[in-house]
């Protein structure tokens, strides 16, 4: 187990450098005139252009720029955004709120998906099963650009049940509505996977054995069926967590949450290479760590899986 983790961590270092290099190269290739992008529609004086070009090393070649960036990164300095803010500060401002938002979304999605999925799996073809099928289809079919403003209008403005926007230091209550909207992105797939998995495991031999042994129904389903059914669901949740963090651009915009999605969008729009690479680097780490945890969870759920 220990050796496995060490091996995975070493692989992560390689993946990390590879990913940042690729993102840096892409941003470099897409960079056209970041100084003009920075000042918007205003004209820019030659001496100002000169000063900014030198401040951000924009006149160096790709490898020199990448070297400057990596040198900073390895000494814990994420560099300076073209807006003159320390990227480390921006990361520190943006990550907590996105992390809270996506964790909350995951909890909401997983709770609904697993509970409803188990019930649907047990009572296939029932009214409940068909109803959840229909509802998840509707939610799945609605793009988030419609769902988010709609939820805001109905539950925030018209009914007044939830706060309309969340903001940077939003608490659990402000984040509940955006997190639910975000959860709707993934709840349908998670529910379907749970349902299929439960349905399949119900027919397994060990379930028949368990029933034959005279175990209570709750124990059969709660321990024998559910535990085995969770493996594919956990995999899915692991992947979803990453997707939710990077994919929250729309939700963050509608509910005014200045998180990771917002910063990525801003960085790409203003051709702010270091900003994008900084955020993506952290995203890469999150993805890798989450996937490691998911892999380790397999072993917890299924004793037959061992890592050497």
């Amino acid at each position: 187990m220990f050796r496995y983790i060490v091996r995975r961590l070493l692989q992560m270092v390689l993946t990390f450098f590879g990913a940042t290099f690729v993102v840096y190269a892409l941003m470099f290739a897409a960079q056209d005139d970041p100084i003009q992008a920075l000042v918007g529609e205003r004209p820019i004086t030659p001496s100002q252009r000169t000063a900014l070009t030198e401040r951000f090393h924009l006149d160096d070649n790709f490898f020199a720029q990448y070297w400057y960036y990596m040198k900073g990164l390895l000494t814990g300095d994420f560099g300076t955004s073209l807006t003159n803010r320390k990227i480390a500060d921006m990361l520190a401002d943006a990550w907590p709120v996105t992390l809270r938002l996506s964790l909350l979304a995951i909890v909401i999605a997983a709770t609904i998906a697993i509970l409803a999925g188990v019930v649907s799996g047990i009572r296939r073809g029932s009214i409940f099963d068909n109803a959840t099928l229909a509802i998840t289809l509707v939610v799945l079919a609605m793009p988030i650009v419609v769902l988010a403003p709609l939820a805001q209008l109905v539950f925030g403005i018209k009914l007044g049940w939830f706060p309309v926007t969340a903001g940077q230091d939003a608490g659990l209550w402000q984040l509940l509505l955006p997190a639910t909207v975000l959860a709707s992105l993934v709840v349908a797939t998670e529910l379907r996977v749970t349902r299929a998995s439960v349905a399949e495991n119900l027919r397994a031999d060990y379930v028949r054995t368990a029933k034959a042994k005279g175990l209570t129904r709750a124990r059969v389903i709660g321990v024998h069926v559910l535990r085995n059914s969770l493996i594919p669901v956990i995999t899915l949740i692991g992947v979803d967590l990453g997707a939710l963090m990077s994919g929250a651009i729309v939700t963050e915009k509608v509910f005014n949450i200045p998180g990771v999605g917002f910063n990525l969008f801003r960085g790409i729009r203003t051709e702010d290479g270091p900003l994008v690479v900084g955020f993506v680097s952290v995203l890469v780490i999150v993805f890798l760590v989450v996937n490691l945890i998911v892999d380790l969870l397999y072993a917890v759920l299924d004793p037959r899986i061992r890592y050497e």
Binding site: D32, Q36, T45, R85, M90, I114, P163, T165, G167
Partner: protein, 544 residues
């Protein structure tokens, strides 16, 4: 972990997640509103250093923190505020500014002439790369403070500029100084109303000519409000009243500038009553806004001017009759009504209605919708059969560009297509390289309320935003003569003559004048907006 392990784990994970979500959410004192304070929505400012701010959001916040030398009355004429008197010599070249005594910065430092001179020198010094640096370019000695990279974008470093201070600034005593311009300019007093001309306290500087690291996040000004804490990026900027402020005292005790990434989210908060003023109602909410807000939805003139530039360097557009015909071929009114829902007004002049000297319809017949005449002229001039209008696709321009193309198609019977570029920077790069882009979507908002601020940058040969390469020596000299004229009235006369040349030559096709379309909550009253897209913080008050 056996048996009910997974359940325990799930519960554990859920508990951690909820804790993480709940704990750092300091929602306790955020929404606490003091009785006489208001909130105004903005977008994250680019900078809160006066000489580094050229957009309305930063400018709004700065207006609460600083007290300008001059402000502008209803007719856009300057009147002194922090200055007691501003006088000038006959040639409009040497300006003497006397400050009001007794003013202090919010940290207690008295405001003296040195605060102005140091701030302006900092803003003008090329290597500081301040975006509003060009405001100082009229002052003597500006050119010596700039340096040019010898090899352009190459690796070689630019040399240090020859000077670090403006030779045109001279201190006479603690409250009086003179500004010497390189050439006379009648409108200089108006220019000094801009943000770049605010003073900076001694505390702003780490050493001579170097700003303290955190000053941009916690600026200290000479204005009616002071910052509470620091700028909370992407979240909010809170300002509170300065005790015993010597100038005009605002009616509210504090302002929270709430930062939004999106105008739609801002509008939702306005309607829900979480925000007091939104300075720009998004177009997609305009249809429902009068229902949502009623009397609390208002319009006021702004200085924005939208137009389409003709690439005069291209053969097809070199003939002015082609340009005239295209201008007559479009129905401006229909565009502002149908697409902008009346939030903008049709433009038939080359300068905005907000500046003194503006004449309605100075473009005359050339800006009147007349498809038959347009077609005649166009055919006679042998205009191009394929028209292209280039625009940046990140600014919501597609709808009107397509509409304009349809009008051109209908009127002239030629083919017309809108051609999107990802960003304005991409578009301008192509224009600079004289690539074939067709007509170019452009816009301008003024820096100071003078006709010259439209005529100079947009249409003179070396104008900073004259991307389309229009050049006319008679026009250039009229603009210059106007700038050097003895009185504002004489200046306006010259500038109007210059504008007449534009009406004849049509280097651009005037389209629309912007308006501030703003809304406010029932909590506030007396909300008005100025020409610079800023809320008048001295007038606004909390309703009883």
């Amino acid at each position: 972990m056996r048996g009910n392990g997974p359940w325990k784990m799930a519960a554990g994970v859920a508990a951690i997640a909820l804790l993480a979500a709940g704990c750092s959410g300091g929602s306790s004192d955020d929404d606490e509103t003091l009785p006489n304070t208001i909130s105004i929505g903005i977008v994250e400012p680019e900078s809160l250093i006066p000489s580094n701010s050229t957009e309305a959001n930063g400018s709004s916040v700065l207006a609460s923190l600083f007290y300008p030398l001059v402000r502008f009355d209803e007719q856009s004429n300057p009147y002194t505020v922090a200055a007691e008197a501003i006088t000038h010599d006959k040639a409009n070249k040497v300006w003497t500014i006397r400050l009001r005594s007794g003013f202090t910065f919010s940290n207690g430092e008295p405001v003296t002439v040195d605060n102005y001179i140091n701030a302006w020198n900092y803003g003008a010094f090329g290597p500081n790369a301040q975006v509003a640096s060009y405001f100082f370019s009229r002052i003597d000695g500006y050119a010596q403070m700039q340096s040019v990279d010898p090899d352009g974008t190459g690796p070689e470093k630019a040399p240090e500029p020859k000077a670090t201070t403006l030779t045109g600034l001279r201190k006479l005593n603690n409250l009086t100084f003179t500004v010497t311009l390189s050439t006379g300019f009648a409108g200089w007093e108006s220019v000094m109303g801009y943000d770049a001309f605010y003073p900076l306290p001694k505390a702003a500087f780490k050493s001579e000519g170097v700003l303290a690291d955190n000053f941009g996040d916690a600026p200290i000004g000479n204005g009616p409000f002071k910052l509470k804490g620091t700028w909370q990026h992407d979240s909010k900027i809170v300002v509170e009243k300065v005790a015993d402020f010597k100038g005009t005292v605002p009616k509210v005790d504090g302002i929270t500038w709430k930062i939004y990434q999106d105008l739609g989210a801002q509008y939702a908060d306005l309607v829900a009553g979480n925000l007091d003023v939104e300075t720009k109602i998004p177009i997609e909410s305009l249809a429902s806004a009068s229902g949502d807000l009623g009397q609390r939805l208002q319009k006021s003139p702004s200085s924005a001017f939208s137009f389409v530039g003709f690439p005069i360097y291209e053969k097809e557009y070199a003939n002015k009759d082609v340009r005239r015909a295209l201008s007559m071929a479009i129905n401006r009114e229909e565009m502002t009504d149908q697409i902008f829902l009346g939030s903008e007004t049709p433009a038939t002049s080359f300068v905005s209605p907000v500046v003194a000297g503006y004449r309605k319809n100075s473009c005359g017949q050339n800006c009147e919708y007349n498809p038959t005449l347009a077609k005649q002229i166009y055919t006679a001039a042998n205009g191009p059969t394929d028209i292209k209008i280039s625009y940046n696709s990140d600014g919501g321009h597609k709808a009107w560009v397509d509409a304009m193309c349809n009008q051109i198609k209908a009127s002239l019977g030629v083919n017309c297509t809108g051609s999107p570029e990802p960003k304005l920077a991409d578009l301008l790069k192509k224009v600079r390289d004289h690539k074939s882009v067709g007509m170019i979507r452009l816009a301008w908002t003024m820096d100071y309320p003078l006709m010259e601020n439209y005529l100079g940058p947009l249409y003179t040969t070396d104008g900073s935003s004259n991307f389309y390469g229009y050049t006319n020596t008679a026009f250039d000299s009229l603009v210059r003569e106007g700038s050097e004229a003895a009185t504002p009235q004489a200046a306006i006369k010259k500038w109007q003559q210059a504008e007449d040349i534009l009406a004849d030559e049509m280097p651009v096709l005037p389209l629309r004048f912007g308006q501030n379309v703003y809304g406010f909550s029932a909590k506030v009253t007396n909300v008005s907006m100025d020409l610079f897209q800023k809320v008048d913080i001295y007038k606004i008050e909390v309703a009883n």
